[in-house]
């Protein structure tokens, strides 16, 4: 990754993913160049020069266009996420810097299992979208854990043969799995019929608690530590 500068991006669309998450579609003045899994920093500047910056994962697949999407969870007391949710409108300019990150990145050519908890699905969605766009959905298996159906991001787009949704508190009536935490069995059945543990790279994204639990599951399944890539969402957004 080369050096990056702050630049201005225009908000061209905003849509709600859930009651607490919105996706912001941003347009740059040049083609974007992000990879699936990378993030951008958004910086807000007050009239007196005070700034607040936070990092947000890109949800859209790389497509060579000038636009990309960030999905932002509204955090309790979140200075930046609260502003983005409550104040920002289509047509606003936001300062951004990126794309950033060279490790939690999927290049679209190798078999991968993607394990996300809640808002941790965002960078994984970029990977799923890339796989589908490249017509290689066989390369990825996505397992996402949410509390209830109303907490699932991208609910109209995410479901498919590559993806499994696990509900921890409240499951829709159409599912047979009782609500509960992610288990080894959930991940094992998600990857059944595809590339095996020895061929897959795992991408885990979520809260620290979720990431540790998912890492334990993957290690139990035989994934070597060096093929488990983890991104944690702490209270830094």
């Amino acid at each position: 990754m080369g050096p990056t500068s702050w630049e201005s991006a225009t908000v061209v669309a905003i849509r709600a993913e859930t009651a607490r998450a919105k996706t912001f579609r941003l347009a740059l003045s040049h083609p974007g160049r992000h990879l699936a899994g990378q993030h951008y920093v958004v910086r807000l500047t007050a009239p007196d020069g005070y700034t607040a910056s936070r990092s947000y994962s890109v949800a859209s697949a790389p497509d060579g266009s000038m636009e990309f999407e960030l999905t932002v969870e509204r955090l309790e007391d979140g200075e930046v996420s609260g502003f983005l949710h409550d104040v920002v409108e289509v047509g606003d300019e936001l300062e951004v810097r990126g794309p950033i990150g060279g490790y939690f990145v999927w290049d679209g050519t190798t078999p991968a299992v993607l394990v996300g908890g809640g808002s941790g699905v965002v960078p994984l969605m970029a990977m799923l979208r890339l796989a589908r766009r490249e017509r290689r959905p066989d390369l990825v298996r996505l397992v996402v854990s949410v509390r209830a159906p109303t907490d699932l991001y991208y609910a109209d787009e995410l479901p498919g043969p590559e993806s499994t949704v696990v509900y921890t508190r409240q499951a829709p009536p159409t599912t047979t799995r009782p609500p509960g935490r992610l288990t080894t069995g959930d991940v094992a059945s998600a990857i059944t019929g595809g590339p095996g543990v020895t061929e897959l790279t795992a991408y885990v994204c979520g809260s620290t608690g979720f990431a540790d639990a998912a890492t334990d599951i993957l290690q139990e399944m035989g994934f070597p530590t060096e093929r488990i890539r983890v991104e944690r969402f702490g209270p830094s957004g």
Binding site: P3, S8, T45, G49, T215, S236
Partner: protein
């Protein structure tokens, strides 16, 4: 490589343009201990890794100083803890924009470890490496002169594994990715060699007061 210097980096108060409707929250009460672009995380201590948290056993744990030294040294857990104890009390600064104040870390000064190994005169940099394979590069002058520690206690308690326990490197005057979790040793070099994050676009030095976050800052 074309290097574009970011004209905004590190210049607090120099504003390219304001964000419509944003006034910010912390009016007129900014803590002078807070480097530019950072916020005070308060009681929280966010955990940021891109690796699986390892399970390290202090019975087999080691720390080594190797590379361009007169005497490569390996310490066991008991041996390193028998060295003279040293303490850091103060702030830490993470590149993801949080800072945390009034922390106390106990361990051993890197000066003590280097003195045992005797760096050769041509040493200019060190590469810190972890039991996980993580690496980070630092100028030699940033880890000597009472600026760096190997720490195994925080605020009087054993360092939790998610924060790098049993022991981590502590270089608190630089962004915290330089303070390698689960540290396994220092390799002394006569050149700079990019570590894990540095190969992925982060700055080779990482001074929070200069906002050296990414390559080119």
């Amino acid at each position: 490589m074309l290097v574009i210097t970011d004209p905004l980096a590190g210049k607090l108060g120099e504003v390219a343009g304001t964000t419509r409707g944003f006034m910010g929250r912390h009016r007129g009460e900014r803590d002078p201990r807070l480097p530019p672009g950072q916020y005070d995380t308060g009681q929280d201590w966010p955990v940021l890794n891109e690796e699986a948290t390892p399970k390290l056993d202090t019975a087999t744990w080691t720390f080594r100083v190797e590379g361009l030294v007169a005497h490569p040294v390996v310490w066991t857990w008991d041996e390193i803890r028998a060295l003279p104890r040293a303490r850091y009390a103060g702030a830490i600064h993470c590149v993801t924009t949080w800072s945390k104040f009034d922390m106390t870390f106990d361990g051993v000064s890197v000066d003590t470890l280097l003195a045992a190994a005797e760096p050769l005169p041509q040493v200019t940099h060190v590469l810190a490496f972890s039991h996980t394979g993580y690496t980070t590069n630092l100028p030699l002058d940033d880890v000597r002169g009472q600026k760096a520690w190997v720490a195994w206690e925080v605020d009087g308690q054993p360092l939790p594994v998610e924060h790098g326990g049993p022991a981590r490197l502590l270089v608190p005057h630089l962004y915290f990715w330089k303070s390698a979790k689960w540290v396994a040793g220092l390799r002394l070099l006569d050149h700079d060699e990019a570590g894990f994050w540095e190969q992925n676009g982060y700055h080779d030095r990482g001074d929070p007061w200069l906002e050296q976050r990414y390559q080119g800052d």
